[in-house]
């Protein structure tokens, strides 16, 4: 299964922020959309970084003036990007191994979505539940009623 099917039911909305915006503006977006990270994009809407709530927390501990800083000062620049054809399995493994909570997804460099580790866990859980459901159905058929075989 690819991560396209996770994006398919997330709607078209990816909350983004520009690098020159302030941390105060970024925090307002995080709060408004009830999310944990923002994709930082250039004027062509291509991802150039990610700003997570943790980035802000870490900076705030050292610096009272964090609110007026720019997003570019705090964002993580070295971002791993996914593509829609990536397998759910390898995405899950990479996110766990590298402790990434949010994966921006691009198609021909265009930002098409963002996937959280929560999305990955839920998708994997639903796949397992689906398989269990199928197996239970088959068992019920074998033992529950005459099959004619």
């Amino acid at each position: 299964m690819t991560i396209a099917s996770l994006l398919a039911k997330k709607g078209p909305k990816v909350v983004t922020v520009q690098p020159e915006q302030t941390i105060r503006q970024a925090l307002a977006l995080l709060a408004e959309h009830n999310i944990g990270a923002l994709v930082v994009v250039d004027p062509e809407s291509r991802p150039i970084g990610i700003l997570s709530e943790r980035d802000v927390v870490r900076a705030a501990v050292r610096d009272e003036a964090v609110f007026t800083k720019t997003v570019s000062a705090l964002m993580t620049r070295d971002v791993i990007l996914g593509v829609p054809q990536d397998d759910l399995e390898s995405v899950g493994r990479t996110m766990t191994d590298k402790r990434i909570r949010h994966l921006p997804v691009v198609d021909q460099r265009r930002l098409v979505g963002i996937i959280s580790i929560g999305d990955v866990v839920k998708a994997q859980r639903d796949l397992y539940r689906g398989e269990v459901e199928n197996l239970q159905m088959e068992l019920t058929e074998e033992h529950g009623r005459p099959t004619g075989r």
């Binding site: 299964m1 398919a8 997330k10 078209p12 593509v83 390898s90 459901e133 088959e138």
Partner: protein, 467 residues
């Protein structure tokens, strides 16, 4: 007026599409504590069950047992079925909005993805989905023809649908006769002259989507020897590394099964099923008459994307495959419904967790929902639609609690029935279907099959004494 969902004012829900997602959603609605709900389910074909009837292979009867659970759901007096009623033809979204508090679309993925190569539209190049619908007796596909007088066929793709198609093409008439395959398909396949069936994967065995029981079945066919090429089934360095990092027994097993196929020496079975890996079709060749006369393949090697997914990359090595019949099985895709926002990127209804979104504002449309393949795309097994439908139904219940629902002018069950009788007098009810089911299974018992399907709408109506 009180909020719907009570004895005085039941919540009225329309479900468009009578496949697994629709039935799982209905079940969830009926199980919601304290909710009084009535469900009307529609399908454009007269019979229920969606792909369980028209998609699941006829030699996989065990999985079709899920229909017993669907029948239980349908036995609820608050459930009605309107078979043979199509959205956009007999009813519009506005009609539904005028009669229901909530509308749920569960129409599945009705078409195939294209390969995007020259020659794809030649004769004898088919969507696997059409072949599947044909051998399963789907009324809209029963009159298709497939040229089974050719000796070599290729199935492009290594998912479970590809495995189904390859298996059905390779089965003996005796094997097929014991299934509920459509009778005209049994006849055509019994006269088939196909001797070789190629199954083509663009990546290696470890990355192939088909599941182990399906792979194993290919090695147990009565009339076909399975084979594979040793150099294509041996995991490459990247695959070995991935498996070392995250050992996965199912994948290991899959590789072992296929490696064993590569070691087999053919016996004298009349057919050969050839599994090929790390190859992609680049062109279908015209035989001079507008039909497929061959296929050009490029060999691939794997590379890792940033997230570690192994993807194919074409090399400069090509190969010609002398096949004259091609089945494309590289994925399904949803079809837009008239009046319902669509997300072209993913081939699904535009939605967030099952709430249909307004394409302009990106906010949820009041009272419109989706579940199943038309919500998330074609992934998972039948049972995967259960948690998927549960997510959507949870959203419906949440919205109801916030009094977000449609305000239909006339929500009475009688009003809808009047409208449908006027627009599509030939519709089938669930009672009608249960009678057809009984006739089909009785005809099956007489001939040693699970059932003999009705494949024409007029035959169904005639059997019900309504033609």
């Amino acid at each position: 007026m009180t909020r719907p969902g009570t004895e005085a004012q039941p919540l009225r829900v329309a479900i468009v599409g009578a496949g697994p997602a629709g039935f799982y959603a209905t079940d969830q609605l009926f199980r919601t504590p304290g909710l009084v709900v009535e469900v009307d389910m529609y399908d454009r074909v007269p019979t229920p069950y969606g792909l369980v009837r028209a998609g699941v292979a006829p030699d996989h009867q065990k999985i079709k047992a899920v229909t017993a659970a669907f029948d239980k759901v349908a036995a609820n007096p608050a459930f009605r079925f309107f078979g043979g009623v199509e959205l956009g033809r007999h009813l519009s979204v506005d009609d539904l909005r005028a009669h229901y508090h909530m509308v749920l679309y569960t129409t599945g993925a009705q078409t195939d993805r294209r390969m995007g190569i020259p020659g794809e539209d030649l004769q004898r190049s088919h969507a696997a989905t059409e072949f599947v619908a044909w051998y399963n007796g789907h009324p809209d596909y029963r009159d298709l023809t497939f040229d089974l007088s050719q000796e070599r066929a290729a199935v492009v793709g290594v998912g479970n649908v590809a495995a189904d198609v390859a298996r059905i093409l390779s089965r003996t008439p005796e094997e097929l006769a014991a299934t509920d395959i459509a009778d005209y398909a049994l006849e055509a396949l019994s006269a088939s002259r196909i001797r070789e069936v190629y199954v083509l994967g663009r990546r290696g065995p470890a990355q192939a989507a088909f599941t182990n029981p399906e792979v194993r079945e290919l090695g147990e066919l009565a009339g076909a020897d399975v084979t594979a090429q040793p150099e294509e089934v041996e995991p490459d360095e990247l695959t070995r590394q991935a498996l070392e990092r995250a050992p996965d027994r199912a994948t290991q097993k899959k590789i072992e099964i296929i490696k064993e196929y590569a070691r087999r020496t053919p016996t004298a079975k009349p057919r050969r099923l050839v599994m090929r890996f790390l190859v992609s079709p680049v062109e279908l060749r015209d035989d001079g008459t507008g039909a497929v006369g061959g296929m050009r393949l490029v060999k691939n090697r794997l590379y890792a994307t940033a997230t570690g997914t192994l993807q194919p990359k074409a090399t400069d090595q090509f190969e010609d495959l002398p096949v004259a019949l091609v089945f494309r099985s590289v994925g399904y895709r949803g079809v837009p419904l008239p009046g319902v926002p669509f997300n072209d990127d993913w081939g699904v209804i535009l939605n967030a967790k099952g709430r249909v979104l307004d394409p302009q504002t990106k906010h949820p449309l009041v009272g419109q929902y989706t579940a199943g393949w038309i919500k998330r795309g074609p992934t998972g097994v039948i049972g995967t639609n259960k948690p998927d439908a549960a997510e959507t139904v949870a959203g419906m219940i949440e919205d109801l609690a916030r009094d977000i629902h449609l305000r239909p002018a006339d929500p009475s069950p009688a009003a809808v029935e009047r409208l449908i009788r006027e627009r599509q007098p030939q519709y089938l009810s669930y009672q009608d279907w249960l009678r057809l089911d009984e006739i089909e299974t009785r005809r099956g018992r007489e001939t040693g099959k699970p059932r003999v399907k009705f494949t024409r709408v007029k035959d169904m109506l005639a059997a019900l004494g309504r033609a």
